[in-house]
Each structure stands twice: as structure tokens, then as C-alpha cells.
């Protein structure tokens, strides 16, 4: 039976007293002290099992040999293990096949976000829309300079693109420039005048932009008759493009628009495939992204919403 006579106030105090309240020497509960000793023991166990003592260049390793970076690497390996079958399958598929297979397409899109963010988004923007006024092409719309089917996107990524428009500062008269600016603005709305078309043909624009003004994809020339502007729809900016051209080395004010090559080796291979020849590598081709990465990115870009289906 419990001893009810025991009075916690009948124990000595520590001599500390504040306003008549004494600090008594009652023991803390047994379970509490035991828990305290146990936690001390746990510290010891932890000390032995895990890295604990810092040394000058290193630290003690602990029996488990655990480190954060090892744990990270293990986790990474697990992720890669899960991805491996998909990656292997992707490597054997063409971009076209990936696009047609919903599961592989989902995987390609899902696993390319970082790839796109690291390599593409700096110019083209996170969602395929570059910052306003930056002059980089929009990837999310349905207007493609070189073609928007997934195979062409692969080619674009592999070999890079560099369009060319001559500077006209020295060859066109001011009133001709005015006329062409007006023509381009009207053409976008679909109501270019006869005189405008005449000027377009006479001044040689037709050579690159095509008889209908819709651009020629083999050349990468812009479609002048739609509502997408390669650089800007502002009158002054259109004038600048016509006067100074794009990538024209003779004009220091020319617009610079260069898409670098991401896999020269693949570019050579694609070129050879086109002519049904064996690719001839000279050994200097760079590969900034692997072929699989390029296929994944092509699918990713195609899925922005403007991708074209193959005929």
C-alpha cells in the first residue's frame, strides 16, 4: 500500500528561499532521471556510429560510415535506376516515335524541365515565351522560321540556326524604306496594297520572303503576313530591321540572332541521312547535349503548344 504519510515538504531545502518559497531537495521522478541517463547513453551511441569529431583535414568516420553526400548519391542512384529503363527506351526511339507514345512523351516532358531551364530558358523563357523586347523567338506559338515538326526541331537544336537578312541602309532610299515599313505592317493585318507588293517585289524582298510573303523555311526567313513578329511590330523596330538587316557583318547596327549548335555530330549525321549517305565525322564535332537530350528537348518544345504535326 502506498505510504500516504510521506510529505514532500518535510525534506531539507537547498537554503535558497525567495519570498518564503523554499527550494526543496525532492528528487525528480525516477523515470525522468532514467530518461536523462538514457539520453546521455544515446549521445555516446550516436558518437560512435556517426561522424563526430572534427579533425584537421577530416573527421572521424563513425562505424556506419554515413555521410550526407553518400546519402544524396544513394538517393540519386535510386532515381536514376527508376529512370534507366525509360532512358534506354528513349535512346532507341526517334523524336517522332516519342511524341506518338503517350507514356514516353510524358516522361520526356517531365524529365526535360531542368534540361530546358539550364540550356534554353535563358533566351527563350521558361514557358517558351522570351522576355518582351529581348528579340528571341517565341517557341510556344505556331509560327516557325524553319519548321515546327519535331524532326525539324531536332535538326534546329543539333545544328543551330543563323538567319541572314541584308542591311539596306545604303541601298534603299528613305521613301522606299517608309513604303516597305508600311507594307510590312499592312501585310500582318492582311491588307497590303498593290503598291506595297510592287515595292516588295522590286526591292528584292521577294527573294527571301517568298512571292506570297510567307517566308521560306529552308532559308529561315520570316513570314510577313501573319501576326507574329520575329523581332517587334513597332514601326521604329521594323524600320531598324529593314535598314540594318539581321546578322549582316557589314553593318555594325545589324540585329544579332544566333542559335548555337548543341550537337554538331548529330547535325552531321542528320545531314548525311537526308542524302542517304554514311556520315563523315572529322573528329572535331562538339556535343554540348547528347542525342537523347536533344530528342527530349525537341519533344518538350513541341509540347509548348505550337508544335506542328508531320504530314
Amino acid at each position: 500500500m502506498a505510504d500516504n504519510k510521506k510529505n514532500p515538504n518535510d525534506v531539507p531545502d537547498t537554503g535558497h528561499e525567495w519570498d518564503g518559497i523554499r527550494e526543496l531537495e525532492n528528487e525528480p521522478p525516477r523515470w525522468w532521471t532514467n530518461a536523462l541517463y538514457l539520453s546521455g547513453l544515446l549521445v555516446l551511441v550516436y558518437f560512435i556510429l556517426y561522424p563526430s569529431l572534427p579533425l584537421i583535414n577530416d573527421s572521424t568516420k563513425g562505424l556506419l560510415g554515413w555521410t550526407q553526400i553518400n546519402e544524396y548519391k544513394e538517393n540519386l542512384a535510386k532515381v536514376q535506376e527508376k529512370r534507366a529503363p525509360f532512358e534506354e527506351k528513349l535512346a532507341a526511339m526517334t523524336a517522332e516515335e516519342i511524341l506518338a507514345d503517350p507514356e514516353m512523351r510524358n516522361y520526356a516532358v517531365g524529365s526535360s524541365k531542368v534540361l530546358y531551364g539550364d540550356n534554353c530558358a535563358a533566351c527563350h523563357g521558361t514557358g517558351g515565351i522570351p522576355a518582351a523586347g529581348s528579340g528571341y523567338p517565341i517557341l510556344a506559338d505556331d509560327d516557325w522560321l524553319y519548321g515546327g515538326d519535331v524532326n525539324t526541331i531536332v535538326a534546329t537544336l543539333a545544328q543551330g540556326r543563323q538567319g541572314m537578312m541584308m542591311s539596306h541602309a545604303k541601298t534603299l532610299k528613305p521613301e522606299e524604306v517608309d513604303g516597305l515599313v508600311k507594307f510590312v505592317m499592312n501585310a500582318a493585318e492582311g491588307n497590303a496594297t498593290e503598291a506595297g507588293w510592287k515595292l516588295f517585289n522590286e526591292k528584292g524582298c521577294v527573294g527571301c520572303h517568298g512571292a506570297d510573303g510567307k517566308g521560306i523555311q529552308q532559308l529561315g526567313s520570316a513570314n510577313l503576313t501573319d501576326q507574329i513578329w520575329r523581332f517587334s511590330g513597332e514601326e521604329a523596330e521594323i524600320r531598324h530591321t529593314i535598314l540594318h538587316g539581321v546578322n549582316d557583318p557589314s553593318d555594325p547596327q545589324t540585329r544579332i540572332a544566333v542559335m548555337p549548335s548543341w550537337n554538331e555530330k548529330l547535325a552531321v549525321k542528320l545531314e548525311a541521312l537526308q542524302w542517304e549517305e554514311e556520315p563523315e565525322y572529322d573528329g572535331t564535332e562538339t556535343e554540348r547535349l547528347t542525342e537523347t537530350e536533344i530528342k527530349k528537348l525537341a519533344v518538350y518544345v513541341h509540347q509548348f503548344g505550337g508544335g506542328e504535326t508531320l504530314e
Binding site: 500500500m1 515538504n9 525522468w32 506559338d141
Partner: protein, 473 residues
């Protein structure tokens, strides 16, 4: 300091008087409660028996599957015919609310009923101490004698038998807990072949150790020092709450009674201390309501048996409210107690919510997420394109065939969708949808648009989601 102030110093010499007979057992003394038969003992067995569900539940089958399965890896709870997905988790909140308020409501009516009759700490401790008293003696004296006795074969087998049974119960507790989360029969196989996954071992070890330590060694100390509910009882009680209480007016002055003697100068209490001896937390109920009291009623059984023996009416210790005991008042009917009414309203609300939830558990979960980067794209013909991710979760047991459709925005067309998709049970198929609208058809930056998921093979569960279409200002 002025004289006036110094003279007004409060006398603190008597500050501890009120609590001078406080007794604090911080684990230093082992409580060996005597076991007596009685009404409340039977009630306690009844309450305890509810826990058999915990052990049997996982083995129940329904339609060839485990009747109740908390399937964490597949993110779903299977309750008989129903499947509850994480999207229905609000029902869990309501269920928790229901039980929390039920606890408060019951406490305000009849004290710590949960503690006394249902709490796992009480129940497991009761089983453990039952085993202990079988082997080591059922009174403090016998237990003490057993402890002091020198080691012998008899003592050794008694101690090891007790601990073996304790550990067996602890392990069974751990396994039973794990069995709610996986196939119960396969679990046993996995355990005996040592093939069980790590979480099973961890939960078995955790539950096993805590059961063994809490029920075997800490016992009432858990109720005294670890459990927060004991601290909350003060705010849940009021003067109308019925509790096991000692009728001091009738009992005092207490005093010993010789056999056959009638002493009218004394109260009914014969100071036999049986009420203390039977208390599983080792308190003296005659000192009034206290934190150690788990309102199990064992002292009522004990006192009633003594009253019977001494030819006195039962009920010296009985379930009574403070007002009944001290103000000769009658027990207030429940419907006149605001506290009970408020708790009941919350209880009914939560219950109605849960029932509504189960009744309307939707067979699908349809979400349309508008792509925010970019918000919209202008196309070459001047039309505006928005991109959406369509997610349809199939919560039924059959695969469903779905076709999506747009409405609510004139001239909007849906692109990039396969004609018809199949969603397997318990799966989500995310799809990217492109919606195009001619610039002339929209005049606002934000227009509402509806996506309809037509379930071809079960049109009744077709569902609509309202989203927005964004354009230039």
C-alpha cells in the same frame, strides 16, 4: 522602504498548510492494486473488450479483400465497399473533430470515462498487472514479499513467465497495428520468414517497446506525468459532472468499527482503506477529486462491498456531482446544461458532415489546371491559345472511358486531345489541352470556360470543372 509597506508583508508561514498531506508518487513506489469483483469491474471489462477489434479487425474480409485497409503506398483507405482517397481527407478531419468533441462531451457529463474504461494505457496496464498479480501475488504485501524473496527456481520461472507474456502481448500489439496497413495474413507470413518490409519492423519494435515499458513499468506514471488529457480535465468538468466521489458528509468522522458494533457518533466510513487498495493509480478518493483519478469506479465496487458487509446502505463512494454532494441539489438534466448542448451541436455537425461525405463520395476527381507560364500565346492568325493540364482521378473500381468537351465560351476549340482516353481505377491520367479562341470572340482578359469530362461507359459520373481563359487586356 516605508514602514507602511514593510508592515504589510504577507505572512507566508502557512503557505504549504493546505497541501501538507499531498502525496506524490513519482515512480518511486509501485502500485499493486487489489482486484475485486463488482459492477464497475464488469463495466471495465466490457470497455476493454472493445480493443479486441484492434486485434481482430485486420483479418475481416469483404468481397474477398481486407475489409479495412489503410493502404499508404497506394494512397487510399479501403473501408468495406468504400475507397477513400487523399482528396477526401477533410472527412478524416471531421472524424477527428467528432472524437475530440466526443471526449469533451463525455468528460463534461461523466468525467474521464475514456481514461477509466477505454484508454489503451488503462487497458494494457490492467492486462499487464493482471498477469503480474497471477504470478507475483495480488496484494502489495505479497508482491513485496515476492520481491524480497531470494532467487529460486520458482521465483525465476514466475518472473520469466510474466515477462514472456508481457513481451508476447507487446509484439502482438505491434503486429496488429501494422496489420491495418497491409495485407494482414501475408504480414504474418512475412514476419515468420523475416521478409517483412522495414516499416513493419519499425512499427512492431516501436509499439512493442512502448507497450512493454508503458504498460509493464510506467503504468499510472504515464497518466500522472505524460498524458495531457489529465491536465485538461479541469476545464472540462463543472459542478454538474458526475464523478466517483466520496460522500464526506455521510462518511466523516471516519473510524474503525468492531464486528457487530454500532457506533452512532462516527460516520459511515470505517477507514478500512480498501478503496485505496484497489485504486490502479494509488490515490485516496476520500481526499476528493484529484489528477490521479481516472474515474474507473474500482473504489465504488470496493466500498459497496464493505457497506454490504457492515449492513450499511451502498453509495458512500458513488458517481455523484459536486452539487449533489455539497448542495443537496438534484442532478441537472443534460438538456439544461449549455456545455452539453454546445458539445452536442458540434458533434452532430461533424457527424452530419461525415455522413454527407460518405453519401456523396464522388466517383471521380476532376481538376483543370491553367498553365501559368505563359498565361496565353498569340498565334499567327491572331487567335489566342491557352494551355491546360486536365487531371481526372478514377475513384471507381472499373476503368472509365473519357472524352473531354468544352462549353461556356463561344468559338473555343479544343486541340491536342486524343479522342477518347482510358483511366484505370485509382489512377490519374494528366493530359495537356490547348484551347484556341479567335481574338474577336473574347473581349476580356479573363473569361470563364467549362471543361466537361464525359464518361462514355458511365454517363452518370460525368463531371464539369470551371476554369478560366486568359487573353490580352
Amino acid at each position: 522602504m516605508s514602514e507602511e509597506q514593510s508592515s504589510s508583508v504577507i505572512d507566508t508561514s502557512a503557505i504549504y498548510d493546505e497541501v501538507s498531506d499531498w502525496h506524490i508518487n513519482a515512480g518511486g513506489e509501485k502500485v499493486v492494486a487489489k482486484r475485486l469483483k463488482g459492477r464497475f469491474r464488469n463495466l471495465k471489462w466490457l470497455g476493454m473488450s472493445i480493443w479486441s477489434i484492434f486485434f481482430i479487425g485486420p483479418y475481416l474480409r469483404w468481397d474477398g479483400q481486407q475489409a479495412i485497409l489503410f493502404d499508404i503506398p497506394n494512397r487510399q483507405f479501403n473501408l468495406f465497399e468504400l475507397t477513400v482517397f487523399p482528396q477526401d481527407i477533410w472527412m478524416l478531419s471531421l472524424t477527428l473533430l467528432f472524437f475530440a468533441i466526443l471526449l469533451a462531451a463525455v468528460t463534461s457529463v461523466a468525467g474521464r470515462v475514456f481514461c477509466g474504461y477505454f484508454c489503451f494505457q488503462t487497458v494494457w496496464t490492467d492486462i499487464y498487472t493482471y498477469i503480474e498479480t497471477r504470478f507475483e501475488g495480488d496484494t502489495p504485501q505479497k508482491a513485496h514479499k515476492f520481491k524480497q524473496a531470494p532467487w529460486s527456481i520458482d521465483k525465476l520461472w514466475r518472473v520469466s513467465a510474466k515477462h514472456s507474456l508481457w513481451i508476447a502481448i507487446a509484439l502482438l500489439t505491434g503486429i496488429s497495428f501494422a496489420a491495418w496497413f497491409t495485407d494482414a495474413f501475408a504480414l504474418w507470413g512475412d514476419i515468420f520468414t523475416l521478409q517483412a518490409p522495414l516499416p513493419v519492423w519499425i512499427s512492431m519494435a516501436t509499439f512493442g517497446i512502448f507497450t512493454y515499458v508503458f504498460a509493464g513499468f510506467m503504468r499510472e506514471q504515464v497518466c500522472f506525468w505524460l498524458c495531457p488529457y489529465a491536465r485538461l480535465q479541469g476545464v472540462m468538468y463543472d459542478q454538474d459532472t458526475v464523478l466517483p466521489a466520496y460522500d464526506a458528509e455521510r462518511g466523516e468522522p471516519r473510524g474503525k468499527l468492531k464486528k457487530g458494533q454500532v457506533d452512532t457518533s462516527k460516520g459511515s466510513c470505517i477507514d478500512c482503506k480498501v478503496c485505496v487498495a484497489v485504486c490502479p493509480t494509488g490515490i485516496d478518493i476520500r481526499k476528493g477529486q484529484q489528477e490521479g483519478c481516472i474515474t474507473c469506479g474500482m473504489c465504488i465496487d470496493a466500498c459497496d462491498s464493505i457497506m454490504d458487509k457492515t449492513d450499511q446502505p451502498r453509495g458512500l463512494i458513488r458517481y455523484a456531482s459536486y452539487k449533489e454532494l455539497h448542495h443537496d441539489a438534484n442532478l441537472l438534466p443534460l438538456y439544461k446544461r449549455p456545455r452539453v448542448i454546445i458539445y452536442s451541436v458540434i458533434l452532430l455537425t461533424a457527424l452530419a458532415g461525415i455522413m454527407y461525405g460518405f453519401a456523396t463520395l464522388s466517383p471521380t476527381e476532376f481538376k483543370v489546371i491553367h498553365n501559368r507560364q505563359p498565361l496565353f500565346v498569340k498565334l499567327s492568325d491572331g487567335s489566342i491559345q491557352n494551355k491546360y493540364t486536365l487531371k481526372l482521378l478514377n475513384k471507381t473500381q472499373q476503368a472509365i472511358e473519357v472524352r473531354y468537351q468544352l462549353s461556356g465560351l463561344e468559338g473555343a476549340t479544343l486541340h491536342g486531345m486524343n479522342d477518347q482516353i482510358t483511366v484505370e481505377p485509382g489512377k490519374v491520367v494528366p493530359l495537356t489541352a490547348l484551347v484556341r479562341v479567335h481574338a474577336e470572340d473574347i473581349n476580356k482578359a479573363l473569361t470563364s470556360i467549362e471543361f466537361k469530362a464525359n464518361v462514355i461507359n458511365n454517363p452518370e459520373i460525368s463531371t464539369v470543372y470551371e476554369s478560366i481563359f486568359m487573353g490580352p487586356k
